[in-house]
């Protein structure tokens, strides 16, 4: 084992670098896809900003101003270059306003998408972190218990409960939680109004209800996967051996089965965190939580293209990164890859 150690770490690193490269390629393809999709819009920004009564001269002037008269490849490169330097362009909804106010619409100005996105991105991240912090330990514990007491009443109850919560739409769970915890027993606020200068405790209180909703959605999936991963292993000979030695069922599961089930479990956790990215959109709208998801839906409705593009790219990158993380963690925690014969 030790003899091959050096070579082996290299091969694992090689695989990881390969995956990272693949992730970068995916990100690039996704950015092209988003850009191409947005360019399928009828008309262009200039006509949309000016409305129907626009003179051809005015449209041409705005096109010149926004660089819309260049060819698509050049515009794509401009857009990509801007993003890489942290400039997501100018928000459409804010552009008119700032033009009247005479404000600077460039990078970091009032109308810049980046300036709008930054605080909301932090809020969304906070929400996802709180949800994950509650969901991961609970689902691991429930999964272990369900595997330990499989086919018991407890297992069946948990099975039905999780299946129900997986298949319910997020807004159904959200409104039930609002009904129970905000209206009938007023313990938590049903609207998450969050300001930048809030204390941590206050912020946590406002975030708790949306976080609990996300927890309900994600926990069910993670718990079922944990249970399945462990039960899959229980049929293997070395578990049979441990059982025949007279080790208690709890010890068999925690010390013998769990370490080998770690790879699929970590994978499932990362995938579910990726799922949180999507779930966040609906939940943020229900609770009027000032995060990216809400901003995304709002800008979709008013067709604020630069913001839609930026939000889409952020969601997609988070999704790709978490999937990548799942992949890499799966490789790293696989004993067969780390210690080959």
């Amino acid at each position: 084992m030790r003899r091959n150690g050096g070579v082996n770490v290299q091969s694992v690193l090689g695989i990881i670098f390969q995956r990272l490269g693949l992730g970068l390629v995916t990100l690039f393809v996704v950015s092209v896809l988003i850009f191409a999709a947005v360019n399928m819009l009828p008309g262009d920004f200039a006509e949309a900003i000016l409305g129907q009564g626009a003179t051809p001269e005015a449209v041409a002037a705005i096109r010149e101003d926004l660089g819309l008269n260049k060819n698509p490849v050049a515009r794509y490169l401009d857009w990509l270059g801007g993003i890489l330097t942290g400039d997501f362009g100018t928000s459409f909804a804010q552009a008119n306003f700032s033009a009247f106010a005479g404000a600077d619409t460039g990078k970091g100005g009032i109308g810049s998408v980046a300036a709008q996105l930054e605080p909301r991105f932090k809020n969304t991240l906070f929400l996802a972190t709180v949800a994950a912090a509650i969901a991961v330990p609970i689902s691991l514990m429930l999964g272990l218990l369900a595997a330990l007491y499989r086919n018991s009443i407890f297992d069946r109850f948990v099975n039905i409960a999780t299946l129900t919560s997986i298949s319910s739409p997020e807004f159904f769970l959200a409104y039930i939680l609002i009904l129970l915890l905000a209206v009938l027993n007023p313990m938590l606020p049903s609207l998450s109004s969050i300001f930048p200068d809030m204390s941590f405790g206050e912020r946590l209180e406002k975030t708790l209800l949306p976080a609990l909703t996300l927890t309900l959605v994600v926990t069910a999936h993670m718990m079922r996967m944990t249970r399945a991963a462990i039960i899959n292993l229980l049929a293997s000979p070395y578990i049979e051996m441990a059982r025949l030695k007279g080790i208690s069922p709890a010890r068999v599961i925690v010390f013998h089965a769990l370490p080998n089930a770690l790879a699929p479990i970590i994978n499932v956790i990362a995938l579910n965190l990726a799922y949180l990215v999507t779930g966040v959109v609906v939940v943020e709208v229900v609770f009027v939580y000032p995060g990216i998801g809400q901003m995304f839906v709002d800008s979709v409705k008013i067709r604020d293209i630069p913001v839609v593009q930026a939000c889409c790219l952020i969601f997609a990158s988070a999704y790709i990164l978490l999937n990548l993380l799942a992949d890499v963690m799966g490789i790293v925690s696989n004993p067969r890859l780390l210690h080959p014969k």
Partner: protein, 395 residues
């Protein structure tokens, strides 16, 4: 905060202690039946605590049901009991009536699957006969607006509108029933379309292979790299711009967009299943016979791939259904005047704040959302059972 944690720790400790006591007593006392103490010898401590926890749960259910008399809790418990009885009756009925094959199927079926089939049947009937069942049309606008639910004139209701009317004066019960037709129907059509696209391209990639397989697989990889709901939202932005003020066109575009996005998952499955079938001898024989590609795909591969595809159809239907509901809830899915559950939830959501004064009013948005949840739960129960049956897994 610290208080809550302290109470939780004390609660867990108390449950474990009473569990230990319970087990201890069980081991000592050989009553009410012989050899019960031998059973208790093998009971683990957590298992014994679980019994106590169950007792505590039953106590709280009774307490809230009979002493506190919380309306919503009562409805939930009653609904659960009615659902259990209905599922059991349906299961029993299925075991007695029908051909030998269906009777055998029902005998091996768990209660949850019977419940799922019953609910799906009810939804299908509602969807097909919505026009006959609903008291009014889905687009009929009456003069009475904002009628409260309950049908009682004294409390601001109206017997003609059992669930009241919305802010435009449309009957909510009728819209709820028509929702089955629109929401479920559109989701079903979308899933069918997704399956048509996914399986045909997937089988094609599996049989022909080569560059077609490569191009299709890489395209699917790229499409799947963006979370589905996010991508659907982006494409819907563009679709609404194309559709302009034509509401039906928006719904049509939504069907196509979601079908294409969802066909990627079907493609992956169809390709994987197809690759396993393509290497079989009978496919080789058919190729040697000189059969056409269409014959290979539709008469040789498809019949052998129905079982996994059918289970996948149930799961995909749930996903499509939930995606459409989410889009409608966000205001960019199925467009009014079509009655739709997702839109109804959004429109009625503020009523939830009246829960303490008028529980029935507050239940309106939950009914629409619950209608969505109930169907997906039912389909999932059936799929779960089908997967367990085909994989032969007992544990």
């Amino acid at each position: 905060m610290m208080n809550y944690i302290l109470w939780a720790v004390i609660g867990v400790a108390a449950i474990y202690a009473s569990g230990w006591l319970f087990r201890f007593a069980g081991r000592k006392i050989d009553w009410p039946r012989d050899n019960l103490n031998i059973y208790f010898r093998d009971v683990g401590l957590t298992e014994a605590a679980g019994f106590i926890l169950g007792l505590v749960a039953v106590y709280f259910v009774c307490y809230y049901y009979f002493i506190v008399e919380s309306t919503f809790f009562r409805w939930a418990v009653q609904g659960f009991i009615i659902a259990t009885i209905a599922a059991y009756a349906f299961w029993w009925f299925g075991k007695l009536v029908g051909t030998d094959a269906t009777r055998k199927l029902f005998r091996q079926m768990p209660l949850t699957a019977a419940f799922g089939i019953l609910i799906i049947l009810i939804y299908v009937i509602l969807a097909i006969f919505a026009g006959a069942i609903a008291p009014h049309g889905q687009e009929d606008i009456f003069e009475k607006i904002n009628v409260l639910p309950g049908g009682d004139l004294a409390t601001g209701g109206d017997p003609a509108f059992p669930l009241g009317t919305d802010q435009l004066g449309r009957d909510l019960l009728s819209r709820l029933i028509y929702g089955a037709q629109n929401t479920v129907g559109i989701a079903f059509v979308t899933t069918l379309l997704a399956f048509f696209i996914g399986t045909s391209i997937g089988f094609l990639a599996a049989t022909v292979g080569g560059w077609i397989d490569q191009v299709a697989s890489r395209a699917v990889d790229a499409l799947m790299a963006i979370p589905q709901l996010i991508f659907a939202l982006l494409l819907m932005t563009i679709a609404t711009a194309w559709a302009g003020s034509d509401k039906t066109l928006v719904t049509l575009y939504m069907i196509i967009i979601i079908a294409v996005l969802d066909s990627t998952r079907v493609f992956r499955l169809a390709r994987a299943v197809g690759l396993n079938i393509v290497v079989m001898d009978y496919i080789e024989a058919a190729k040697v016979r000189g059969e056409k590609l269409s014959y290979l795909i539709f008469s040789e591969i498809l019949p052998n791939a129905t079982a996994p595809l059918l289970a996948e159809f149930g799961l995909r239907f749930c996903f499509v259904f939930l995606t459409i509901a989410a889009l409608s809830f966000l205001g960019i899915g199925i467009q009014p005047p079509l009655a739709d559950w997702g839109t109804m939830v959004r429109d009625l959501s503020q009523f939830i704040n009246f829960a303490q004064f008028s529980p029935l009013t507050a239940a309106l948005p939950l009914m629409a959302a619950g209608a969505i949840a109930l169907l997906t739960v039912a389909v999932n129960f059936v799929v779960d059972w089908m997967l367990q049956k085909t994989s032969g897994l007992k544990e």
